[in-house]
Symmetry: C2
Subunit: 362 residues, 2 copies
Amino acid sequence: MGPKRIHNFNAGPAALPRAVLEEIQSEFLDFKGSGMSITEVSHRSKWFDEVINDAIERTRRLLNLSSRYQVLFLQGGASMQFCMIPMNFLADGRTADYVNTGTWSTKAIKEARIQGKTVQVPASSEDRNFAYIPRKIQFSKDAVYAHITSNNTIKGTQWDAFPDTGQVPLIADMSSDIFSRPFDVEQFGLFYAGAQKNMGPAGVCMVVIRDDMLDLIPGNLPTMLKYSTFAEKNSMFNTPPCFAVYTVQLVLKWLEETIGGLEKMAAINQRKADLIYGFIDNSRFYNGTADPDSRSLMNVTFRLPNEDLEKKFVADALVNDLGGLKGHRSVGGCRASIYNPTPLQAVEALVDFMRHFESQNG
Amino acid sequence: MGPKRIHNFNAGPAALPRAVLEEIQSEFLDFKGSGMSITEVSHRSKWFDEVINDAIERTRRLLNLSSRYQVLFLQGGASMQFCMIPMNFLADGRTADYVNTGTWSTKAIKEARIQGKTVQVPASSEDRNFAYIPRKIQFSKDAVYAHITSNNTIKGTQWDAFPDTGQVPLIADMSSDIFSRPFDVEQFGLFYAGAQKNMGPAGVCMVVIRDDMLDLIPGNLPTMLKYSTFAEKNSMFNTPPCFAVYTVQLVLKWLEETIGGLEKMAAINQRKADLIYGFIDNSRFYNGTADPDSRSLMNVTFRLPNEDLEKKFVADALVNDLGGLKGHRSVGGCRASIYNPTPLQAVEALVDFMRHFESQNG
């Protein structure tokens, strides 16, 4: 009998491809004939060098990065980036634009202001509980950068196209949709993503940075808080989170070699989202919470007629091996996170369950 | 045939107990019947709650912590602590003492000074290439804290007893000897340890902090750089490095339940160190680099008659399944790291090899 496995709709940490988990398991006591676990090899060894460099090369290919961009691995999650971005780039007397599309954007703004930095908010969807992505935004022409959250995990919204910020570098928190679709990186000065949603386990944050951004960094920052430290040392100024980087490498390998790249991944993601949103739109029992033109392909947020039914829905789903469907504790309701590793079959099983639950409780 | 395993003398990331690796492997696709990998469960789930709380409780028992101390898990390694400690505790106009016993102490001092903090160095062993631990140190009575590195991984020295700092809280980087022996925590305001040497994989840093230290933290620090953030949220303000915390939990379980606690661990560590130092002291071929009264029980640093022989020693050892014996790139020579998870048999195998190598090349 194989291990028990459920359909996992967690918002993060989230599902990983089963083939990746099996590969980790199979070589866990002896990594590539080293006679050591990946958790036991030196980060200065040829074994780990191959891991981190393969992860970087796959990222470069998948995102079609020019030589102007560097791929870095940091710790502390996206929350640490909220602090590092203004610290590294926003000198006294300069300003940055932050579009506020939900909880994580709000936190990013807060962490800049805590440091006494000047931040403008040219657009916000707070007026309708962040149910939409603002359009036609007037960005400041003299901002050092413009910051957005590409996908809003909690509110279930996503930028379908990125805003034009002219000459101002765009910075994006892509924690919950990186590698879910192709996009043009050229207008980005930096983008970052905690791994634990679309590309790995918790404990590592990918940062992709353009060379001109490195020139903005002041000299007197603590070493571990400067992007240049990571850029100069291939993310190994000190010991990196080796196991998390290794898992990311395997997920990117799966994305390239099993899925076939970002175009194919995007088509699968679209199909998964169409299936569940199509079902919700044809139901009077389930109600999506995001505006249809702002819906996330990653996090499907919806409500049932009342909170008791929502509780029952989440509990009954788990009995049927469908896990992680509770909405974020700050907003309630239900949420199905359908990141890259979530297969179409899981979404089909969820929709079948939703139909059955409605017929029993509607 | 089982997996290939070598004797691993890496300085960090380093060997883990085989039983821990096997437990991780066995439940990697289905953690405790959840139907998910430990890398896939939510950090807000009952599964992860049990992991992190068990790790904390075991730490409390093993170190005999009073209720004044909190156990935190942070990211960024000890290097991030070098920055956070002065940032959190050292207000303008105040000073701290740092004893300089090697590479990591030097870095800790540098990270305080980068921030414009005032740091005194009441003692240093730099005059003899950090081959010893300074004695009879005059600490400042009005310092906010006094900082030491309890074990010097690169130079192979270790404080056998901690210095008396009177009313001044002691802070220690214990990255390479935490949990290797019992010690009295009462004079410590804080101690910290990157996990990847004595207690787990890379990617998590344990911080044990006394309640009065929390009162020193200024309000205007970025959220992720304040110890109070982690203290108030049981280290889960944002997603913690779940897999690394889980591995630490299993190592601490092994330490309590298989080894039997810190007294027993210390006796085993002493026996391992006596074996290899005893052999070195009886040899004219191998020469220990640390003063005998300052020797580390964790990192045994030694030289051979010349660098060619050192290269051959490291290469021949690996052929004999003894890995990780090269000294740190900054100092050269050889080093055997014999942390908690390294069994006595591994040290016996190493000494046998050293004897054989001497007989062939001496």
